[in-house]
Amino acid sequence: MVARLRGRYGSGIDPKTYLGQNYIVADPSIVYELLQILRDDEQYDYCVDVTAVHYPQRKDQEFDIVWILYSFEHNQRVRVKAMIKDGDPAPSVVALWTTANWLERECYDMFGIRFEGHPDLRRILLPDGWKGHPLRKEYGITQQDSEWVKINLGIESGQ
């Protein structure tokens, strides 16, 4: 599989293995196409998870977007990883796997990453009017949107 993908994308992808788990680091420009090929040609038909990791110190590549895929046919998992810049949109895979809908919404809610092509990108766990994205590294653990708390709950602090 790796050889096939290599032939197609050359240096655009970088397949790696760590502790027996395979993952592919892909260029953000080709990652949607790569995911589509993984689904259609390599039978990775089940999208387990879509998530992100924030690295504020990494210039112009602040976010890792991680797609975890599984193939019922081969009983194998693969992770696809793309590094994007803070503020840049990531491709939405809702058209490939419906399950990505809520997973991408959560990712947007927690990190503020926009998924281009998502049908309904809104907050999911936090209330709609909330300011800030809590899983970003600069967001403090006790931080909250005190204005929202005051207006909506009528108390000084939610803690």
Partner: protein
């Protein structure tokens, strides 16, 4: 909304209906009704709010509002050491705390490149399977209660108590057990643990049949569950639905078989599946799973190996830089942990892949075009725990 109420009032007057003879009463023209269900509704199993768009009794559209129980578990993890985060995972799916702990401990062990000793693996398997039965019993009781049968709730809670007693004797806690540690188990089994577990198996085997006599051929139960909330295999895969819901749709897939963890590869058991993917099949699958769990426990308790129960792990855990994804078959589906280590004592990021959250997404698809009363049955059959949905 106000218009509908007004027109209903006016329709109650005989005069009005006579005045518009031939034409339909005006309130029948109001085709859509927005109904808010929850977050304090008893059948939503916690703080789930569902906004329903109804046409009479028919559901046109649904929207789930979640997050009422959001505690920021993933954020907390970044500010705790690996061992300190362990009790927090029990508070996600609090009816299956042991499974959560197993998934987390195994994920960190993988990241540390170690393994728990065989004795710990066996004890873990026994406790996790006991927890699976407890989770399914709680599900069965509350699900039947939602549909209108009260008795199963008393039966299942009576029997679940015996499992909680074993947990209490083993580690002191009944619900949020924190039974496992990274590298094995903290506690050695108590004197008489094997006998207690065997006694429980003998006690509960006829009880599972008893649940079935109450429901399996019950006319009301059949009417309320057969053909309700149908989910086809392809839809399940597309929606990422796992666990008994996936198996009831005919996909024979269980992580305990597909990618064995703990001590599962040493035991014989079947994967029960359904055909129709409706609420009734999901009920049958879960009941069959209770029996399979008992089968695993019986084999495991007879063959617990001797040896240490805690492996050698450093006091200060500093996994090397890297990331790992590990998942287990929790009672509700695939529970995964994606852990990123930066080489320090605290995880850089922990992502929990919650089965309840992903399965709940299928609700919209399952109730589209169904009746209002079926929404209650479908929420029950999905077996969600809001602590895990919201984290």
């Amino acid at each position: 909304m106000a218009d509908i109420l007004k027109s209903e009032q006016s329709s109650s007057s005989v005069e009005h209906i006579e005045a518009e003879k031939g034409a339909a009463p005006p309130f029948l023209d109001a085709t859509e009704l927005i109904l808010n269900m929850g977050p304090q509704h008893p059948s939503t199993h916690g703080v789930l709010r569902v906004i329903l768009k109804l046409d009479g009794e028919k559901v046109l559209n649904t929207e789930c509002v979640i997050g009422y129980l959001h505690r920021g578990v993933e954020k907390i993890a970044e500010h705790r050491t690996y061992a300190m985060f362990n009790p927090y995972v029990d508070r996600m799916d609090y009816v299956a705390a042991v499974s959560n702990g197993l998934g987390y401990c195994e994920a960190v062990e993988k990241l540390l490149n170690t393994e728990a000793p065989p004795r710990a693996q066996w004890v873990r398997t026994i406790l996790t399977e006991l927890n699976r039965i407890a989770s399914h019993q709680l599900w069965l009781g509350t699900h039947a209660l939602d549909i209108g049968a009260i008795t199963p709730l008393f039966y299942t809670f009576r029997d679940r108590e015996e499992i909680l007693k074993i947990f209490e004797k083993y580690c002191g806690a009944r619900l949020t057990t924190h039974a496992f540690r990274i590298g094995g188990c903290l506690y050695e089994t108590y004197d008489g643990f094997e006998q207690d577990v065997k006694k429980f198996c003998d006690f509960v085997t006829p009880k599972v049949d008893e649940y079935e006599t109450l429901l399996t051929t019950n006319r009301i139960w059949l009417e309320r569950t057969k053909g309700v909330g149908v989910l086809k295999a392809q839809d399940c895969i597309d929606l990422g639905v796992t666990g008994p819901v996936l198996r009831a749709s005919g996909v024979k897939w269980d992580l305990r078989k597909a990618q064995p963890y703990a001590a599962y590869k040493n035991f014989e058991f079947d994967i029960p599946t359904g055909q129709n993917g409706d609420t009734y099949d999901r009920y049958m699958v879960r009941v069959a799973e209770m029996r399979q769990a008992l089968r695993i426990i019986r084999q495991a308790v007879d063959s617990i190996p001797e040896g240490p129960i805690m492996g050698k792990v450093p006091k200060v855990m500093k996994p090397p830089v890297g990331e790992i994804y590990h998942s287990i078959e929790a009672p509700k589906g695939e529970l995964g942990y994606f852990i990123v280590s930066d080489g320090s004592t605290q995880p850089y990021r922990i992502r929990v892949r919650p089965p309840s959250f992903v399965n709940l997404q299928a609700l919209g698809k399952m109730v589209e075009g169904a009746l209002m009363a079926d929404v209650v049955a479908v929420i029950g059959t999905l077996d969600i725990v809001l602590g895990e949905v919201d984290r």
